[in-house]
Protein backbone atom coordinates (compact mmCIF):
# COMPACT_ATOMS: atom_id res chain seq x y z
CA UNK A 1 0.00 0.00 0.00
CA UNK A 2 2.75 2.45 0.85
CA UNK A 3 4.38 1.20 -2.31
CA UNK A 4 1.30 2.19 -4.28
CA UNK A 5 1.34 5.57 -2.58
CA UNK A 6 4.96 6.10 -3.49
CA UNK A 7 4.25 5.06 -7.04
CA UNK A 8 1.35 7.41 -7.47
CA UNK A 9 3.22 10.30 -5.96
CA UNK A 10 6.24 9.64 -8.11
CA UNK A 11 5.35 11.84 -11.02
CA UNK A 12 8.58 11.33 -12.96
CA UNK A 13 6.74 9.29 -15.56
CA UNK A 14 4.17 12.05 -15.95
CA UNK A 15 7.00 14.52 -16.39
CA UNK A 16 8.82 12.26 -18.82
CA UNK A 17 5.87 12.52 -21.21
CA UNK A 18 5.24 16.20 -20.55
CA UNK A 19 5.72 17.27 -24.16
CA UNK A 20 2.93 15.09 -25.52
CA UNK A 21 0.74 15.71 -22.48
CA UNK A 22 1.05 19.47 -22.72
CA UNK A 23 0.23 19.24 -26.38
CA UNK A 24 -3.01 17.66 -25.25
CA UNK A 25 -3.67 20.58 -22.98
CA UNK A 26 -3.50 22.86 -26.01
CA UNK A 27 -6.40 20.93 -27.50
CA UNK A 28 -8.36 21.52 -24.31
CA UNK A 29 -7.78 25.23 -24.73
CA UNK A 30 -8.69 25.19 -28.43
CA UNK A 31 -11.93 23.30 -27.83
CA UNK A 32 -12.69 25.69 -25.02
CA UNK A 33 -12.15 28.77 -27.18
CA UNK A 34 -14.30 27.46 -30.01
CA UNK A 35 -17.08 26.33 -27.71
CA UNK A 36 -17.00 29.59 -25.75
CA UNK A 37 -17.44 31.65 -28.91
CA UNK A 38 -20.33 29.48 -30.06
CA UNK A 39 -21.96 29.51 -26.62
CA UNK A 40 -21.86 33.31 -26.43
CA UNK A 41 -23.35 33.85 -29.88
CA UNK A 42 -25.98 31.11 -29.64
CA UNK A 43 -26.77 32.08 -26.06
CA UNK A 44 -27.44 35.70 -27.01
CA UNK A 45 -29.55 34.55 -29.95
CA UNK A 46 -31.61 32.24 -27.75
CA UNK A 47 -32.07 34.93 -25.09
CA UNK A 48 -33.34 37.40 -27.70
CA UNK A 49 -35.69 34.76 -29.09
CA UNK A 50 -37.06 34.06 -25.61
CA UNK A 51 -37.90 37.70 -25.20
CA UNK A 52 -39.33 38.17 -28.67
CA UNK A 53 -42.75 39.71 -29.19
CA UNK A 54 -43.81 36.81 -31.43
CA UNK A 55 -45.14 33.93 -29.37
CA UNK A 56 -43.84 31.07 -31.59
CA UNK A 57 -40.34 32.55 -31.55
CA UNK A 58 -40.57 32.74 -27.78
CA UNK A 59 -41.61 29.09 -27.58
CA UNK A 60 -38.70 27.97 -29.75
CA UNK A 61 -36.31 29.99 -27.62
CA UNK A 62 -37.68 28.50 -24.41
CA UNK A 63 -37.56 24.98 -25.79
CA UNK A 64 -33.97 25.51 -26.94
CA UNK A 65 -32.84 26.78 -23.55
CA UNK A 66 -34.62 24.05 -21.60
CA UNK A 67 -33.27 21.27 -23.82
CA UNK A 68 -29.65 22.35 -23.65
CA UNK A 69 -29.62 23.38 -20.02
CA UNK A 70 -30.95 20.00 -18.98
CA UNK A 71 -28.87 17.85 -21.33
CA UNK A 72 -25.81 16.07 -19.93
CA UNK A 73 -22.63 17.17 -21.76
CA UNK A 74 -21.57 13.63 -22.55
CA UNK A 75 -24.77 12.56 -24.28
CA UNK A 76 -24.80 15.80 -26.26
CA UNK A 77 -21.22 15.12 -27.31
CA UNK A 78 -22.06 11.61 -28.50
CA UNK A 79 -25.27 12.77 -30.14
CA UNK A 80 -23.58 15.58 -32.05
CA UNK A 81 -20.77 13.30 -33.13
CA UNK A 82 -22.79 10.27 -34.22
CA UNK A 83 -26.35 11.45 -34.95
CA UNK A 84 -26.14 15.03 -36.21
CA UNK A 85 -23.95 14.17 -39.26
CA UNK A 86 -26.41 11.42 -40.23
CA UNK A 87 -29.36 13.78 -39.97
CA UNK A 88 -27.59 16.43 -42.04
CA UNK A 89 -26.63 13.71 -44.50
CA UNK A 90 -30.28 12.69 -44.90
CA UNK A 91 -31.28 16.29 -45.57
CA UNK A 92 -28.56 17.12 -48.13
CA UNK A 93 -28.37 13.54 -49.48
CA UNK A 94 -24.64 13.27 -49.05
CA UNK A 95 -22.40 11.43 -46.61
CA UNK A 96 -21.35 13.78 -43.85
CA UNK A 97 -18.86 13.17 -41.09
CA UNK A 98 -17.70 15.51 -38.36
CA UNK A 99 -14.12 15.76 -37.28
CA UNK A 100 -14.07 14.97 -33.52
CA UNK A 101 -12.80 18.47 -32.84
CA UNK A 102 -15.77 20.02 -34.64
CA UNK A 103 -18.22 17.80 -32.76
CA UNK A 104 -16.61 18.75 -29.46
CA UNK A 105 -16.90 22.47 -30.17
CA UNK A 106 -20.51 22.20 -31.34
CA UNK A 107 -21.64 19.99 -28.44
CA UNK A 108 -20.06 21.98 -25.64
CA UNK A 109 -21.00 25.25 -27.30
CA UNK A 110 -24.66 24.23 -27.53
CA UNK A 111 -24.88 22.92 -23.97
CA UNK A 112 -23.37 26.06 -22.49
CA UNK A 113 -25.33 28.37 -24.77
CA UNK A 114 -28.35 27.32 -22.70
CA UNK A 115 -26.73 28.60 -19.53
CA UNK A 116 -25.49 31.78 -21.20
CA UNK A 117 -28.96 32.44 -22.60
CA UNK A 118 -30.38 32.49 -19.08
CA UNK A 119 -27.62 34.84 -17.97
CA UNK A 120 -28.24 37.19 -20.88
CA UNK A 121 -31.97 37.15 -20.28
CA UNK A 122 -31.62 37.95 -16.59
CA UNK A 123 -29.21 40.75 -17.46
CA UNK A 124 -31.45 42.21 -20.15
CA UNK A 125 -34.56 42.04 -17.99
CA UNK A 126 -32.76 43.88 -15.19
CA UNK A 127 -32.34 46.97 -17.35
CA UNK A 128 -34.89 49.67 -16.50
CA UNK A 129 -37.46 50.19 -19.24
CA UNK A 130 -36.80 53.90 -19.14
CA UNK A 131 -33.39 53.31 -20.69
CA UNK A 132 -34.97 51.77 -23.77
CA UNK A 133 -37.65 54.46 -23.99
CA UNK A 134 -34.98 57.13 -23.73
CA UNK A 135 -33.06 55.44 -26.54
CA UNK A 136 -36.19 55.36 -28.71
CA UNK A 137 -37.00 58.96 -27.88
CA UNK A 138 -33.55 59.90 -29.16
CA UNK A 139 -34.42 58.18 -32.43
CA UNK A 140 -32.18 55.14 -32.03
CA UNK A 141 -33.13 52.01 -33.94
CA UNK A 142 -33.85 48.79 -32.01
CA UNK A 143 -30.50 47.35 -33.09
CA UNK A 144 -28.62 50.43 -32.04
CA UNK A 145 -30.36 50.30 -28.66
CA UNK A 146 -29.29 46.66 -28.27
CA UNK A 147 -25.64 47.44 -29.05
CA UNK A 148 -25.25 50.81 -27.33
CA UNK A 149 -27.58 50.61 -24.35
CA UNK A 150 -28.58 47.05 -23.53
CA UNK A 151 -25.48 44.94 -24.17
CA UNK A 152 -22.88 47.15 -22.45
CA UNK A 153 -24.92 47.05 -19.24
CA UNK A 154 -25.64 43.33 -19.57
CA UNK A 155 -21.97 42.54 -20.04
CA UNK A 156 -21.03 44.56 -16.99
CA UNK A 157 -23.64 42.89 -14.85
CA UNK A 158 -23.11 39.32 -15.95
CA UNK A 159 -19.33 39.25 -16.28
CA UNK A 160 -18.65 37.42 -12.96
CA UNK A 161 -21.26 34.78 -13.70
CA UNK A 162 -19.98 34.39 -17.25
CA UNK A 163 -16.43 33.86 -15.99
CA UNK A 164 -17.69 31.11 -13.67
CA UNK A 165 -19.44 29.49 -16.61
CA UNK A 166 -16.22 29.65 -18.60
CA UNK A 167 -14.40 27.83 -15.80
CA UNK A 168 -17.06 25.08 -15.78
CA UNK A 169 -16.78 24.92 -19.51
CA UNK A 170 -13.05 24.42 -19.36
CA UNK A 171 -13.61 21.58 -16.90
CA UNK A 172 -16.11 20.05 -19.29
CA UNK A 173 -13.55 19.98 -22.12
CA UNK A 174 -11.94 16.93 -20.46
CA UNK A 175 -14.71 14.69 -21.80
CA UNK A 176 -13.82 15.38 -25.43
CA UNK A 177 -11.18 12.66 -25.14
CA UNK A 178 -14.10 10.21 -25.27
CA UNK A 179 -14.68 10.97 -28.96
CA UNK A 180 -10.91 10.86 -29.62
CA UNK A 181 -10.01 14.53 -29.57
CA UNK A 182 -6.33 14.25 -28.58
CA UNK A 183 -6.58 16.33 -25.40
CA UNK A 184 -4.66 15.81 -22.15
CA UNK A 185 -6.84 12.96 -20.89
CA UNK A 186 -6.71 11.23 -24.27
CA UNK A 187 -2.92 11.36 -24.33
CA UNK A 188 -2.80 10.18 -20.74
CA UNK A 189 -4.81 7.09 -21.59
CA UNK A 190 -2.63 6.46 -24.64
CA UNK A 191 0.51 6.58 -22.51
CA UNK A 192 -1.15 4.32 -19.93
CA UNK A 193 -1.86 1.74 -22.62
CA UNK A 194 1.83 1.76 -23.48
CA UNK A 195 3.33 1.84 -20.01
CA UNK A 196 0.58 0.01 -18.08
CA UNK A 197 1.04 2.32 -15.14
CA UNK A 198 -2.18 4.18 -14.41
CA UNK A 199 -1.19 5.34 -10.93
CA UNK A 200 1.29 8.12 -11.59
CA UNK A 201 -0.34 9.15 -14.86
CA UNK A 202 -3.92 9.58 -13.66
CA UNK A 203 -2.65 11.21 -10.49
CA UNK A 204 -0.54 13.58 -12.55
CA UNK A 205 -3.49 14.41 -14.79
CA UNK A 206 -5.74 15.04 -11.80
CA UNK A 207 -3.15 17.30 -10.17
CA UNK A 208 -2.49 19.22 -13.38
CA UNK A 209 -6.18 19.94 -13.94
CA UNK A 210 -6.69 20.73 -10.27
CA UNK A 211 -3.87 23.29 -10.16
CA UNK A 212 -4.92 24.89 -13.42
CA UNK A 213 -8.60 25.17 -12.54
CA UNK A 214 -7.91 26.15 -8.96
CA UNK A 215 -5.80 29.08 -10.16
CA UNK A 216 -8.41 30.03 -12.75
CA UNK A 217 -11.30 29.98 -10.32
CA UNK A 218 -9.33 31.75 -7.58
CA UNK A 219 -8.53 34.44 -10.13
CA UNK A 220 -12.17 34.67 -11.15
CA UNK A 221 -13.27 34.91 -7.51
CA UNK A 222 -10.85 37.71 -6.70
CA UNK A 223 -11.75 39.56 -9.88
CA UNK A 224 -15.50 39.19 -9.36
CA UNK A 225 -15.34 40.57 -5.87
CA UNK A 226 -13.52 43.71 -7.00
CA UNK A 227 -15.73 44.00 -10.06
CA UNK A 228 -18.95 43.82 -8.02
CA UNK A 229 -17.65 46.39 -5.60
CA UNK A 230 -16.65 48.66 -8.47
CA UNK A 231 -19.97 48.57 -10.32
CA UNK A 232 -22.15 48.76 -7.22
CA UNK A 233 -20.75 52.17 -6.32
Amino acid sequence: MSDALKQSLDLSMFLEYRAILLQGLIFNVLVFLGAAALALVAGLGAALMRMSRLAPTRWIGTLYVEVFRNAPDYIMLVWVHFVLPLLIGIVIRRRVEFHPFVSAVIALGLVYSGYFAEGFRAGIEAIPRGNLDAGRACGMSERLILWRITLPQVVRRMLPEALNLFVSMFKATTIVSLIAVPDLMYNVSMVIQQEMRPLPLYTGAALTYFLLIFLLSAGVRAFSERWRRAILV
Binding site: N70, P72, F82, L178, M185, L199, A206, Y209, F210
Partner: protein, 222 residues
Protein backbone atom coordinates in the same frame (compact mmCIF):
# COMPACT_ATOMS: atom_id res chain seq x y z
CA UNK B 1 -41.64 5.34 -37.26
CA UNK B 2 -40.94 1.63 -37.67
CA UNK B 3 -37.39 2.20 -36.51
CA UNK B 4 -38.54 3.86 -33.30
CA UNK B 5 -40.77 0.90 -32.59
CA UNK B 6 -38.06 -1.64 -33.36
CA UNK B 7 -35.04 0.09 -31.81
CA UNK B 8 -36.48 1.95 -28.86
CA UNK B 9 -39.89 0.64 -27.81
CA UNK B 10 -39.05 -3.03 -28.31
CA UNK B 11 -35.76 -2.54 -26.45
CA UNK B 12 -37.38 -0.71 -23.57
CA UNK B 13 -36.38 -3.40 -21.06
CA UNK B 14 -32.71 -2.88 -21.86
CA UNK B 15 -33.04 0.89 -21.59
CA UNK B 16 -35.10 0.74 -18.42
CA UNK B 17 -32.57 -1.60 -16.80
CA UNK B 18 -29.95 1.04 -17.60
CA UNK B 19 -32.16 3.80 -16.24
CA UNK B 20 -32.57 1.97 -12.95
CA UNK B 21 -28.79 1.64 -12.61
CA UNK B 22 -28.46 5.35 -13.36
CA UNK B 23 -31.01 6.18 -10.67
CA UNK B 24 -29.26 3.87 -8.22
CA UNK B 25 -25.82 5.39 -8.80
CA UNK B 26 -27.23 8.91 -8.58
CA UNK B 27 -29.20 8.35 -5.38
CA UNK B 28 -26.29 6.68 -3.57
CA UNK B 29 -23.95 9.41 -4.77
CA UNK B 30 -26.44 12.06 -3.65
CA UNK B 31 -26.72 10.66 -0.12
CA UNK B 32 -22.94 10.29 0.06
CA UNK B 33 -22.52 13.86 -1.15
CA UNK B 34 -24.86 15.28 1.49
CA UNK B 35 -23.15 13.37 4.31
CA UNK B 36 -19.66 14.10 2.97
CA UNK B 37 -20.50 17.75 2.40
CA UNK B 38 -21.85 18.10 5.92
CA UNK B 39 -18.72 16.53 7.43
CA UNK B 40 -16.39 18.66 5.31
CA UNK B 41 -18.32 21.80 6.17
CA UNK B 42 -18.37 21.09 9.92
CA UNK B 43 -14.68 20.23 9.99
CA UNK B 44 -13.89 23.39 8.07
CA UNK B 45 -15.89 25.57 10.44
CA UNK B 46 -15.40 23.99 13.84
CA UNK B 47 -12.30 21.76 13.89
CA UNK B 48 -9.40 24.19 13.86
CA UNK B 49 -6.47 21.82 13.42
CA UNK B 50 -8.05 19.97 10.49
CA UNK B 51 -9.28 23.10 8.78
CA UNK B 52 -6.55 23.38 6.09
CA UNK B 53 -7.09 19.74 5.17
CA UNK B 54 -10.85 20.28 4.77
CA UNK B 55 -10.28 23.40 2.66
CA UNK B 56 -7.84 21.51 0.45
CA UNK B 57 -10.24 18.60 -0.03
CA UNK B 58 -13.18 20.87 -0.80
CA UNK B 59 -11.14 22.77 -3.38
CA UNK B 60 -9.77 19.58 -4.88
CA UNK B 61 -13.21 18.00 -5.27
CA UNK B 62 -14.65 21.18 -6.74
CA UNK B 63 -11.85 22.08 -9.09
CA UNK B 64 -10.98 18.72 -10.64
CA UNK B 65 -13.09 17.83 -13.68
CA UNK B 66 -15.51 15.00 -12.90
CA UNK B 67 -14.20 12.78 -15.70
CA UNK B 68 -10.63 13.05 -14.42
CA UNK B 69 -11.76 12.40 -10.85
CA UNK B 70 -13.76 9.41 -11.98
CA UNK B 71 -10.80 7.81 -13.74
CA UNK B 72 -8.58 8.62 -10.79
CA UNK B 73 -10.93 7.06 -8.24
CA UNK B 74 -11.63 4.05 -10.45
CA UNK B 75 -8.05 3.18 -11.36
CA UNK B 76 -5.79 4.71 -8.71
CA UNK B 77 -7.77 4.40 -5.48
CA UNK B 78 -8.12 0.60 -5.45
CA UNK B 79 -4.35 0.25 -5.41
CA UNK B 80 -3.76 3.24 -3.19
CA UNK B 81 -6.43 2.69 -0.53
CA UNK B 82 -7.78 -0.80 -1.28
CA UNK B 83 -11.22 0.48 -2.23
CA UNK B 84 -13.60 0.96 -4.06
CA UNK B 85 -13.79 -2.73 -4.97
CA UNK B 86 -16.10 -2.36 -7.99
CA UNK B 87 -16.62 0.10 -10.79
CA UNK B 88 -20.14 0.69 -9.52
CA UNK B 89 -18.73 1.81 -6.18
CA UNK B 90 -16.08 3.90 -7.93
CA UNK B 91 -18.86 5.55 -9.94
CA UNK B 92 -20.97 6.73 -7.04
CA UNK B 93 -17.92 7.54 -4.95
CA UNK B 94 -16.45 9.88 -7.57
CA UNK B 95 -19.81 11.54 -8.21
CA UNK B 96 -20.38 11.86 -4.47
CA UNK B 97 -16.96 13.34 -3.78
CA UNK B 98 -17.33 16.02 -6.40
CA UNK B 99 -20.75 17.09 -5.16
CA UNK B 100 -19.71 16.91 -1.50
CA UNK B 101 -17.23 19.71 -2.24
CA UNK B 102 -19.99 21.89 -3.69
CA UNK B 103 -22.48 21.04 -0.94
CA UNK B 104 -19.91 21.77 1.78
CA UNK B 105 -19.72 25.32 0.45
CA UNK B 106 -23.51 25.55 0.23
CA UNK B 107 -23.88 24.47 3.86
CA UNK B 108 -21.16 26.85 4.96
CA UNK B 109 -22.87 29.77 3.25
CA UNK B 110 -26.11 28.74 4.99
CA UNK B 111 -24.50 28.55 8.42
CA UNK B 112 -22.59 31.79 8.03
CA UNK B 113 -25.75 33.60 6.95
CA UNK B 114 -27.44 32.92 10.29
CA UNK B 115 -27.34 35.81 12.74
CA UNK B 116 -24.83 35.17 15.53
CA UNK B 117 -27.41 36.20 18.11
CA UNK B 118 -29.30 32.96 17.60
CA UNK B 119 -26.36 30.90 18.75
CA UNK B 120 -25.78 33.17 21.72
CA UNK B 121 -29.47 32.95 22.62
CA UNK B 122 -29.37 29.15 22.48
CA UNK B 123 -26.29 29.05 24.67
CA UNK B 124 -27.76 31.41 27.21
CA UNK B 125 -30.90 29.25 27.28
CA UNK B 126 -28.62 26.44 28.42
CA UNK B 127 -28.31 24.42 25.21
CA UNK B 128 -25.11 22.53 24.55
CA UNK B 129 -23.25 23.23 21.28
CA UNK B 130 -24.53 19.93 19.87
CA UNK B 131 -28.11 20.78 20.83
CA UNK B 132 -27.74 24.24 19.38
CA UNK B 133 -26.55 22.78 16.14
CA UNK B 134 -29.30 20.17 15.94
CA UNK B 135 -32.23 22.32 17.04
CA UNK B 136 -31.34 25.85 15.95
CA UNK B 137 -28.79 25.87 13.17
CA UNK B 138 -29.38 22.71 11.16
CA UNK B 139 -33.14 23.09 10.54
CA UNK B 140 -32.66 26.59 9.17
CA UNK B 141 -29.67 25.66 7.04
CA UNK B 142 -31.49 22.63 5.65
CA UNK B 143 -34.45 24.79 4.66
CA UNK B 144 -32.38 27.56 3.16
CA UNK B 145 -30.16 25.25 1.14
CA UNK B 146 -32.84 22.74 0.07
CA UNK B 147 -33.19 24.22 -3.44
CA UNK B 148 -29.42 24.18 -4.01
CA UNK B 149 -29.28 20.61 -2.75
CA UNK B 150 -31.91 19.57 -5.28
CA UNK B 151 -29.96 21.42 -7.96
CA UNK B 152 -26.85 19.50 -7.02
CA UNK B 153 -28.80 16.32 -7.75
CA UNK B 154 -29.27 17.44 -11.35
CA UNK B 155 -25.52 17.94 -11.59
CA UNK B 156 -25.02 14.38 -10.34
CA UNK B 157 -27.47 13.00 -12.90
CA UNK B 158 -25.72 14.84 -15.71
CA UNK B 159 -22.27 13.67 -14.63
CA UNK B 160 -23.52 10.13 -14.09
CA UNK B 161 -23.49 9.60 -17.88
CA UNK B 162 -19.73 9.29 -17.53
CA UNK B 163 -19.84 6.16 -15.38
CA UNK B 164 -20.56 4.28 -18.59
CA UNK B 165 -16.90 4.88 -19.43
CA UNK B 166 -15.83 2.66 -16.53
CA UNK B 167 -18.28 -0.04 -17.69
CA UNK B 168 -21.08 0.60 -15.19
CA UNK B 169 -24.22 -0.58 -17.08
CA UNK B 170 -26.16 2.67 -16.76
CA UNK B 171 -28.60 4.11 -19.31
CA UNK B 172 -25.79 5.60 -21.39
CA UNK B 173 -23.89 2.35 -21.61
CA UNK B 174 -27.04 0.30 -22.32
CA UNK B 175 -27.87 2.57 -25.22
CA UNK B 176 -24.33 2.25 -26.56
CA UNK B 177 -24.70 -1.51 -26.27
CA UNK B 178 -27.87 -1.33 -28.38
CA UNK B 179 -26.08 0.79 -30.95
CA UNK B 180 -23.26 -1.72 -31.26
CA UNK B 181 -25.86 -4.43 -31.93
CA UNK B 182 -28.10 -2.54 -34.38
CA UNK B 183 -25.74 0.06 -35.90
CA UNK B 184 -28.57 2.59 -35.86
CA UNK B 185 -27.58 5.46 -33.61
CA UNK B 186 -30.20 8.02 -34.66
CA UNK B 187 -33.26 6.69 -32.84
CA UNK B 188 -31.46 5.09 -29.91
CA UNK B 189 -29.24 8.05 -29.04
CA UNK B 190 -32.02 10.56 -29.56
CA UNK B 191 -34.33 8.59 -27.29
CA UNK B 192 -31.58 8.27 -24.67
CA UNK B 193 -30.89 11.99 -24.79
CA UNK B 194 -34.62 12.68 -24.46
CA UNK B 195 -34.86 10.44 -21.39
CA UNK B 196 -31.95 12.20 -19.73
CA UNK B 197 -33.27 15.66 -20.57
CA UNK B 198 -36.72 14.77 -19.25
CA UNK B 199 -35.23 13.33 -16.07
CA UNK B 200 -33.07 16.36 -15.37
CA UNK B 201 -35.90 18.71 -16.29
CA UNK B 202 -38.21 16.95 -13.84
CA UNK B 203 -35.69 17.16 -11.01
CA UNK B 204 -34.93 20.82 -11.60
CA UNK B 205 -38.65 21.61 -11.89
CA UNK B 206 -39.05 20.01 -8.45
CA UNK B 207 -36.20 22.19 -7.19
CA UNK B 208 -37.86 25.32 -8.55
CA UNK B 209 -41.21 24.35 -7.04
CA UNK B 210 -39.55 23.70 -3.69
CA UNK B 211 -37.75 27.03 -3.78
CA UNK B 212 -40.98 28.92 -4.53
CA UNK B 213 -42.85 27.11 -1.77
CA UNK B 214 -40.18 27.74 0.81
CA UNK B 215 -40.08 31.37 -0.15
CA UNK B 216 -43.84 31.72 0.19
CA UNK B 217 -44.06 29.80 3.40
CA UNK B 218 -41.03 30.89 5.35
CA UNK B 219 -40.02 34.00 3.47
CA UNK B 220 -36.64 32.55 2.55
CA UNK B 221 -34.66 34.12 -0.22
CA UNK B 222 -33.65 31.16 -2.34
Amino acid sequence: MGNWQRLVWNQRDVLLAGLSVTVEVCVIAFVAAILGGLVLCLVRLYVRPLRPLAVLLIEFFRDTPIFVQLMWVAYVWPELFGFPDSFFAAGWLALGLQSSGYLAETFRAGIEALPRGQRDAAFSAGMSPAQTFRRIIMPQVALASAPSIVNQFTVIVKSSTLVSVITVPDLMSQSQKLISVWYEPIEILTATAAIYIAFVFLVSACGKWLADRLRLRYGLAA
